[in-house]
């Protein structure tokens, strides 16, 4: 089962990469950008029997550093 984990920096945590992307976009002439935050997308292909709690445990133990990052899990409905 395809499972996507989105890892993003918590609000209030400075995101230098997002800032640099923001500046670069403005340098290209794009305007109206209030803020840019960069994150990660991790795609997992899991056996059907892997439950939500197990995916959450994976996030807490490795995929996200919960000191600075939030995570969101998106699971594809079984076909």
């Amino acid at each position: 089962m395809k499972t996507r984990v989105y890892v993003t920096l918590k609000n209030g945590v400075l995101d230098p990469q997002g800032k640099a992307i923001h500046h670069a976009l403005e340098g290209l002439g794009f305007s109206g950008i209030n803020d840019v935050r960069a994150g990660k997308l991790i795609e997992l292909d899991l056996e059907e029997n892997i439950g939500d709690e197990q995916v959450e445990a994976m996030c807490r133990k490795l995929l996200a550093n919960t000191v600075i990052e939030n995570f969101r899990i998106e699971r594809e409905a079984a076909a």
Binding site: L14, P16, Q17, L63
Partner: protein
């Protein structure tokens, strides 16, 4: 003093650390590969060196913190064995939960590689006993992810409990409250971004880092 240096794939300061430890303590440390599950018996000091373990995949130090040897390192730290993490070693210690906070991309986005002035904040730990609080020392840094961050409450606690070991004397990488190195609650785990092992002899240009190892030798052995 019997010391051990943990070696991960991508460590690149492990040999510098070994040379520094041998010069100061007189004995060569055991080099312990990350796949090992046990540390050498009777080890008095564990050093986690700088580098780019696992190519900094996922987050700096994230993979190394979950490698087999880190279970043994955590157990040793809980027994009170001194653990020194330098640069990537500091990142690994925060990822492993042995130290609070996290090391993020430098605020200026640049890799910072230069000598930096540090202010010694705590001279009572095993690692800092040969310095004087308030003293300024110069030790090189070389990192991309050295921007120390933690929530305000954690930072207040670190400062209140005297667990900030070193601060940058000037702006370096955007670290909260200019923190360059911190201790755990018990004071036996130190993580720092600057490289003391790169400043142990006159040929290095300066030797302020040597005193860290000398202090350890005195308190531990």
């Amino acid at each position: 003093m019997k010391s051990a240096v943990i070696v991960f794939p991508g460590s690149n300061c492990d040999r510098d650390m070994a040379v520094a430890l041998e010069q100061v303590t007189g004995g060569a440390p055991d080099m312990v590969w990350h796949r090992e599950t046990e540390l050498p018996e009777g080890v008095d000091l564990i050093a986690i060196p700088g580098g780019f373990s696992y190519g900094d995949y996922l987050r700096s130090g994230a993979m190394a913190a979950r490698s087999p040897i880190m279970r043994a390192v955590t157990e040793a730290a809980e027994r009170g064995v001194p653990v020194l993490g330098v640069c990537n070693g500091f990142q690994i210690l925060t990822e492993a939960g042995l130290l609070p906070g996290a090391l993020m991309r430098n605020a200026g986005l640049h890799f910072v590689c230069r000598d930096v002035a540090l202010k010694v904040e705590n001279d009572r730990s095993a690692f800092t006993s040969s310095y004087r609080a308030g003293e300024e020392i110069v030790i090189p840094v070389a990192h991309h992810d050295g921007n120390y961050q933690a929530d305000g409450e954690t930072l207040d606690r670190l400062e209140g409990e005297g667990r900030v070991a070193f601060r940058y004397a000037g702006e370096c990488n955007g670290s909260a409250r200019d923190i360059a190195g911190i201790l755990n609650e018990r004071g036996n785990v130190l993580g720092m971004m600057p490289h003391p092992e790169r400043a142990v002899e006159e040929a290095h240009g300066r030797s302020d880092g040597r005193r860290l190892f000398e202090g350890l030798l005195e308190t531990v052995a």
